[in-house]
Symmetry: C2
Subunit: 340 residues, 2 copies
């Protein structure tokens, strides 16, 4: 028995099953792929593959379908990510470059990813933790009301309106503003927060309460977990294509899509941008989503990822295509964030 033919059979089974949604039998296989051997031979190979746990039969008199392990093998060993066509590349870049601001970039990415893969797409907002402070602005709306604006390297803008206990004089404000800029501008979030914390010690006691309040609000804005958790979902309509048996998987899926925490966990802690990770079926953290796979990667201007994006779909999905799309979109998003 030739080992490579056995693997070719596995590859063919995965391919056929993904496109037809139906268990594939030995006869159909030799017809659709010119393997140059007879069905009987293929049957022998199939028996061996089943022995190894890579494929399985739903019931006795049916064809074979890949197991999670089979998909894993397929993804790891039998496929390389196919590059996008130049037309696709062009479409991606023009579509994404039309974006105005961060929100727009994220939103377009989701749509794009969903459309390219025909799956549900998930994009995480850039996390604050790994970004730096580009600018801080303090504006007096009234003597006791301040507007704080925080601009981060990822393009995210945070703003707070702060009520002061006592009035703040005009020149104190100017002084405060420059102090804050010195302490925070250009720093990483964590360092900036530390710098701001020390600020209160550098001003006369009369202003201390106010400075503490402002610094506190800024630090709070920086460590705003709500944004760390923020993800955008798109292409839910693709769930309807799951087919008949989706009754079981569509409900947990919809539930998961509502819970951003769950989605973040699904995307996983992709800390380095570049590598596309694939989580197949039961490999994921949620029992209910045992029939779904996740293809995800990190994105970010540098090597270090500031966020994740990916797709979720049935284990029976086009892995090479999905991986290519995810990687391509992540790359384009990264370069766009770099420019901004």
């Amino acid at each position: 028995m030739q080992e490579d033919r056995k693997l070719a059979v596995l590859r063919a089974i995965v391919g056929d099953y993904v496109s037809t949604r139906e268990p594939v039998g030995s006869k159909a296989l030799v017809e659709r792929h010119h393997l140059g051997v007879s069905p009987a031979t293929v049957r022998n190979d199939m028996a061996a593959l089943e022995e190894e746990g890579l494929i399985a039969q739903p019931h006795t008199s049916a064809g074979r379908i890949p197991t999670d392990k089979g998909y894993r093998f397929f993804v790891d060993r039998l496929t390389q990510i196919k590059p996008m066509s130049s037309a696709e590349k062009r479409a991606i870049s023009t579509f994404l470059e039309g974006a105005h601001d961060l929100d727009d970039v994220i939103q377009r990415s989701v749509r794009l990813l969903a459309q390219l893969t025909q799956q549900v797409a998930i994009v995480q907002y850039p996390t604050l933790a790994r970004s730096t402070v580009r600018h801080v602005e303090v504006v007096a709306l009234s003597p006791t009301r301040l507007l704080l604006v925080l601009i981060l390297s990822t393009g995210r803008v945070e703003q707070r309106v702060l009520e002061l206990p006592t009035e703040l004089a005009e020149d104190s404000l100017i002084d405060l503003r420059s102090k804050i800029l010195r302490a925070a501008a250009g720093q990483r979030i964590s360092d900036a927060a530390a710098g701001l914390g020390n600020l209160a010690d550098q001003v006369p006691p009369s202003e201390r309460a106010q400075v503490t309040a402002v610094a506190g609000a800024l630090v709070e804005a920086m460590s705003n977990e709500r944004y760390d958790e923020r993800v955008v979902v798109g292409g839910t309509a693709n769930l309807a294509r799951f087919g008949e048996g989706f009754d079981q998987s569509i409900k947990p899926m919809l539930e998961a899509l509502e819970e951003h925490v769950v989605l973040l966990k699904l995307l996983g802690e992709t800390t380095s941008s570049g590598a596309v990770t694939v989580r197949i079926g039961h490999e994921g953290p949620y029992q209910e989503l045992a029939t779904t796979s996740v293809v995800a990667t990190g994105y970010g201007p540098g090597v270090e990822a500031v966020g994740s994006l990916g797709i979720v779909g049935p284990t029976r999905m086009d892995y090479p295509g999905s991986m290519a799309a995810v990687r391509a979109v992540a790359r384009y998003v990264s370069t766009i964030l770099d420019q901004a």
Copy 2:
């Protein structure tokens, strides 16, 4: 034949069908509701109701189900919106009052509405058109880069980074800032836009290009249609409860939920806050959603609505409950926006 009993029968049919999902027959009706008459009598009433087009039989040997017209009659004439229990009221207000900013209010409203009604909830962001400008801030990030921040009465904050063709002097900036504030602060969006448009005529020609750019960007930010179109959706997981026959209606539903324009049209042009509108089945603008109903209302601090919110679900839904929930949430959102 007593007219009111006939209507009681319709009410009972709607009630039973909504809770059981199954066509309801004459015998079951008299058992579950003590109508004080025999099944035969009820059958006569049913025949009359069917004659009027308020109920129908899916097939000959089955019970009756309400038609869209029947639901309409039920909603218009047979039910008054039941007030929320005080426990529910308390839950709503504490849940919504925990919100920090506008985004938070909207997000919580969606969740709340979805949970109260067990349907898909939709909340529109306050439209810019009817809000006023609370504050405008212009900040120089660098000599040729300006940050524009626009704060509106609804709590929405818009910001833009603007590249200037030429450098802008510090004192010109201060001057420009006060001019802008005079032209826009406190005005309605439309008036503010007009005022900003005239601004360029009031400055020396040397600064005209810059002022035009700034004013243009602000006007653009004010009339940002992206936000007028912005809606948030929640409770999609409730779609899974649609039951078996959802195959037909869940797909158009998911597609609609992706298209914000469609959702806005579904919510309808509710210009006055207070009245809850119900659109049943085919009454809606979309053929594909002929089996779904929409319960919506406007919200806003005053009489005039600044946005809409509502729910979408199968025509077979609990109308009194949904209407009560929609109305209650809209009221609370309105008061919270008023405070902010």
